[in-house]
């Protein structure tokens, strides 16, 4: 029993040390603060553009106030991905990674610590961006016809809260997917290119595909198109996926990305 406990607690201590180290590195980088600020600013700017434009003229106009309010996430997620990519690629760029792995030879522990710190930061900025977007929606949408007479209640309902929290979770998962892919390819520019192409490929191709089955299938498969189904609050049956299943697909992408990154990390030289 003893060796196992010692082993576990050693691993725990190593993880704590790694977490502390990663947190210090990420916190003291000048770019991190700007990126987090950028996530919030870009999200709010685009959400504002959306909520001030979208109108609902009559009952049954089919607009989803939560989705409209959270439009900015489609742009903000790009900066979230960049933040996650930089958390690992930055170290490869400067050669710091060798020092990190010398100090903490268990590489997967380092990756796990990076995942935790990145998730925490993304969640914090995500909450601000999402809450701000929903508030903007509350302010602007009633003036654009999203009123009780057209079937939109004025109080914050459970579905909106679920959409908001789910969106924060979605952003964290995008970050983890980006972290995993960046760990696999190392080079920052390449990783950012891959992640953004992967995220935005599916909605664009789906837009062109008019075959109903394939259109729906693409929307169900894509990390962004599936994951953002969590924002739906009205007309749930018409969604390609239910909110939970959509976020589940996104979680699979993130898990796949981290798995790929972890395998490559364990297999190759630093």
């Amino acid at each position: 029993m003893m060796p196992v406990r010692t082993g576990m607690s050693l691993l725990g201590a190593e993880f704590a040390a790694a977490l502390h180290a990663e947190w210090t590195k990420l916190r003291t980088l000048a770019g991190t603060g700007w990126l987090l600020l950028g996530v919030v600013a870009v999200t709010l700017a685009l959400s504002l553009a959306a909520v001030s434009e979208v109108t609902c003229r009559a009952a049954g106009c089919g607009q989803d106030p939560a989705k409209v309010s959270l439009t900015g996430v489609e742009f903000g997620q790009a900066l979230v991905a960049v933040l996650a990519v930089l958390a690992i690629s930055g170290e490869y760029g400067t050669g710091m990674i060798r020092l990190t792995f010398t100090a903490l030879p268990r590489r997967l522990v380092v990756l796990a610590a990076k995942a935790c710190t990145v998730s925490g930061l993304i969640a914090a900025s995500g909450v601000l961006a999402v809450a701000g977007s929903l508030v903007l929606g509350r302010i602007f949408l009633p003036g654009n016809g999203f009123t009780a007479t057209n079937g939109y209640s004025s109080i914050v309902d459970a579905a909106t809260v679920r959409a908001g929290l789910g969106t924060v979770g979605y952003l964290v998962l995008i970050g983890l997917l980006a972290l995993g892919l960046a760990t696999a390819v190392r080079e920052a520019a390449l990783a950012i290119g891959f992640v953004l192409a992967l995220v935005y490929l599916f909605p664009l191709v789906a837009q062109l595909v008019t075959d109903q089955d394939w259109h729906r299938r693409l929307l169900q498969l894509g990390p962004m198109t599936a994951g953002l189904d969590v924002q739906a609050t009205v007309n749930l049956a018409a969604q390609p996926l239910s909110p939970g299943a959509g976020l589940g697909v996104m979680a699979c992408w993130a898990a796949g990305g981290l798995l790929l990154g972890g395998l490559v990390l364990a297999a190759r030289d630093a």
Binding site: V68, F75, G193, A197, Y200, L208, T210, D211
Partner: protein, 527 residues
């Protein structure tokens, strides 16, 4: 380390500096010999074509006729230039052989419409509200024959845009402003002389003004001449999540004509419904003649088709894969300079060529050239290949003339070249690949994606494609927006807010500023 300390010159070159030609050659060699960058550009070509193919590959037209007979997929009628057109209206006509003219006075134009599609097509005019569509057209027309899509010229009173002379579907000229009523009638005249048709209008039938002339080359000797009424569908365009949605419904217009006078040789009057649109499949169109007065009811429109799929697949659709191709180009272009900073090679480069802006210029020329070639090659492959798959799948493909093809292929080449130079400039400014790649993708690719993938409401999408470097994608637009046709002209439907070369100029402006800042930064700071 600094630029002033030039190493003793051993080569025969003058002044311890490389000539610009040698500099260019050095940069080209650096670019050419990094395998990953060459692969990156080949990947750009590959993904552009493949993503373009994904659209038609996932699209099929299923069509089964009665008794399981296969049915022909019918596209819209095509006009004289081969473009898809609407050609539906009620035509009170007679034949005219040789030269002649028609004159008529319009004393009333009224209409019915169905707001929000309250009444469905085919159930007649019950439940419709009175009101005239702004582009409802009633007037005099000379048309080759009664085939949909044949050549014509018309002078018409419209619901909200005064008198217009229109011909061959796309051409539109303005005459007298104001709306028509019994106290303020409009006199219209159309004169045929060979292939030339001249339109006139008048408020009193005494003082006539020429609106314009139309040359309809190849017009046959015998044509159809007469009165017509058309009223396009009522359209409401809503800004919505996912672009713009248009709702609307059928409409009908009724016009009163009198003082109808014809010159030339011909036959008696016939009434014909062209096209199939209208509140009841066109069956409510018709005319009554009593004395010298004609009452003509009709629906439909004589106009180019504009909206979405109505135009058929365009070259823009075939090139949608450029969003992925551009990401690859941006990554390569950025690393071309940030890679040198990362490995310290930039110090060697600047030691060999102390005038740093010349290094930047050489890099820009190498990248711009490579980007142009990649842009032209990928577009020249994607357009015919995607077009062939679309045709094989039975999709309507919008024809394009050589000028349009050149605009799109060369324009896309220039777009890719300038984006590569922009990425170079931003990479030089920031010196880090991650920041530079992010900045350029966020500025060029994302606005295009969000606007075209129909995520943003149309208004926001238009602002993005007007203000950001993504405005340059307008260079791929060959389908013009027609002011005389109400439709949702949004980026998601392929319509950019700026004209092609103006959009391209926006990208060039951003690139010039970025290059200027990069030169300033290069001169001021240490390598």
């Amino acid at each position: 380390m600094s630029a002033g300390v030039a190493a003793p010159e051993r080569s025969g070159r003058s002044g311890g500096r490389l000539g610009f030609g040698s500099l260019l050659h050095a940069e080209w060699t650096k670019f050419r010999t990094v395998r990953g960058w060459v692969i990156g550009l080949l990947v750009a070509i590959g993904v552009t074509v493949l993503v373009g193919l994904a659209g038609p590959a996932g699209t099929s037209i299923s069509c089964s006729g009665p008794d399981n007979q296969p049915c022909q997929h019918q596209g819209p009628p095509t006009g004289p230039d081969g473009q898809p057109v609407s050609d539906a209206f009620y035509f009170v006509h007679r034949s005219l052989t040789g030269n002649g003219s028609i004159t008529a006075r319009v004393t009333s134009l009224t209409g019915l419409y169905s707001p929000r599609g309250v009444s469905q097509a085919g159930v007649g005019t019950a439940g419709m509200t009175s009101g005239v569509q702004p582009w409802a057209k009633v007037g005099v027309i000379v048309k080759q024959d009664t085939q949909e899509g044949s050549r014509y010229a018309a002078v018409a009173v419209t619901g909200g845009h005064g008198v217009r002379m229109q011909y061959d579907y796309t051409q539109d000229m303005a005459g007298l402003p104001g709306s028509v009523s019994a106290s303020s009638p409009r006199w219209l005249r159309l004169v045929r002389a060979g292939d030339t048709l001249t339109g006139y209008d008048s408020a009193d039938g005494m003082a006539w003004t020429e609106i314009g002339t139309a040359t309809l080359t190849g017009l046959s000797s015998t044509v159809q001449i007469g009165l017509f009424t058309a009223s396009p569908d009522y359209v409401v365009i809503d800004q919505s999540f996912g672009g713009a949605s248009s709702a609307g419904g059928p409409t009908q217009a009724t016009a009163l004509f009198d003082r109808v006078a014809l010159t030339g040789t011909g036959t008696g009057w016939t009434g014909t419904q062209l096209g199939g649109t209208g509140p009841a499949g066109g069956s409510t169109g018709g005319y009554q003649q009593s004395g010298g007065q004609f009452t003509v009811r009709g629906s439909g429109d004589i106009a180019p088709q504009t909206d979405g799929m109505g135009t058929g697949r365009t070259m823009q659709d075939a090139l949608v894969g450029w969003f992925a191709g551009l990401i690859a180009v941006i990554v390569v272009a950025t690393m071309f300079v940030t890679g040198e900073y990362r490995r310290g090679l930039i110090r060697t480069t600047f030691a060999a060529s102390p005038r740093r802006e010349r290094v930047l210029a050489a890099k820009a020329i190498v990248l711009g050239g490579a980007g142009f070639v990649v842009g032209v090659v990928a577009s020249a492959i994607a357009i015919p290949v995607v077009g062939a798959v679309e045709t094989a799948k039975g999709l309507a493909v919008r024809g394009a003339d050589t000028a349009e093809y050149v605009q799109v292929v060369v324009g896309t080449g220039l777009l890719v070249a300038v984006v590569a130079v922009l990425a170079l400039a931003v990479g030089t400014l920031l010196r880090r690949s991650a920041g530079a790649v992010t900045a350029v993708i966020l500025a060029v690719v994302l606005p295009y994606l969000l606007a075209v993938a129909s995520v943003l409401p149309a208004g926001a999408a238009e602002w993005l494609t007007r203000l950001t470097p993504a405005a340059a994608f307008a260079i791929q637009q060959t389908v013009p927006a027609y002011p005389q046709v109400v439709a949702s002209y949004t980026p998601a439907n392929g319509y950019f807010p700026l004209p092609p070369w103006a959009g391209f100029a926006v990208l060039c402006g951003y690139t010039a500023v970025a290059l200027g800042l990069a030169v300033v930064a290069l001169r001021r700071r240490d390598a």
